[in-house]
Subunit: 147 residues, 2 copies
DNA sequence: CCCTTGACTTCAAGCGCTTGAGGTATGTCA
DNA sequence: TGACATACCTCAAGCGCTTGAAGTCAAGGG
């Protein structure tokens, strides 16, 4: 039965070392077993599994308390399976929306970059063109804020 | 010359009220003029313009100090136009990567949701199928972490 | 004329980490 | 064998907000 170091888990989950310690400290995971002589953490594959889901939830903006709920439901297995599915899908939706917003931001920033590029080249025509591009993107960005 | 309330600016920039106050407090923007009798903030269109860029930068994970740099370069106009463009494009790249990662998370979460759905319906076949889907998505997710 | 509603104000505390300081154990090389 | 590198540890402080408490001002209704 192989064990994983905190670095292994960090790399494969995308959560930082400090975050992994923090999650253990607040009882969201673990407690994680230690190497007796070094007192370094030794994670099981099972822990990694849990942490990969938690990492996704976190990336979707799920708060600590809701993650606790997820963990608790998980233990209850089948009884809470429906809730579990709904929690996941609900947040998936929020992220779809966020990706769209991020894309808008990206477009806006690119337009702004083109504007500064035109300025750096002292190209007045390109600057005017870039400016109208920015104006074109802006309303869509503001629209996205309201949704 | 029309002015905007903090709420107007919040809606159109996507930054929360407290965040707008915070940005002013640390001198990233402003100082913003006040209504003499109520002491409510009255923003100019020009402030909104600035804040829309800052909101995008923030959404791309740009830190406060780097935003200050952006603001300072802006005043210098043409002299720093090249740097300005590069700062914007550099972060645009990071966000493209992040969007990709978010998509992976989304796929993984959807697969997990399907798994819990199968469990809730006590459909062992579907559960096995969902499980193999999860296993298929996982390596791509971990891969994305390394990049 | 008072009372409520709503949008704002300041100030303080909390959240979910990240960063840094300072220290310990393991492995590698001269 | 001793010195250095690496990977981890704990503890404390800082960051960039968010949330909540407590109060001010302007408009509208009974």
């Amino acid at each position: 039965m192989t064990t994983l170091t905190i670095q292994d888990v960090s790399r494969r989950s995308g959560l930082s070392g400090p975050t992994l310690r923090y999650y253990e400290e607040i009882g969201l995971i673990g407690p994680i077993a230690r190497d007796p002589s070094s007192s370094h953490r030794r994670y099981r594959e099972q822990d990694l599994d849990t942490l990969q889901v938690l990492a996704c939830l976190r990336a979707m903006g799920v708060g600590i308390e809701e993650m606790r709920t997820y963990q608790a439901n998980r233990e209850l297995g089948h009884a809470k399976a429906g809730e579990q599915r709904d929690l996941l899908l609900q947040h998936a939706k929020r992220v779809e929306a966020e990706i769209k917003t991020l894309r808008m931001h990206l477009n806006y920033l690119r337009a702004k970059a083109a504007l500064w590029d035109a300025r750096s080249r002292e190209d007045a025509d390109a600057e005017a063109e870039a400016n109208s591009q920015v104006q074109k993107v802006l309303p869509r960005l503001e629209e996205a804020m309201l949704g």
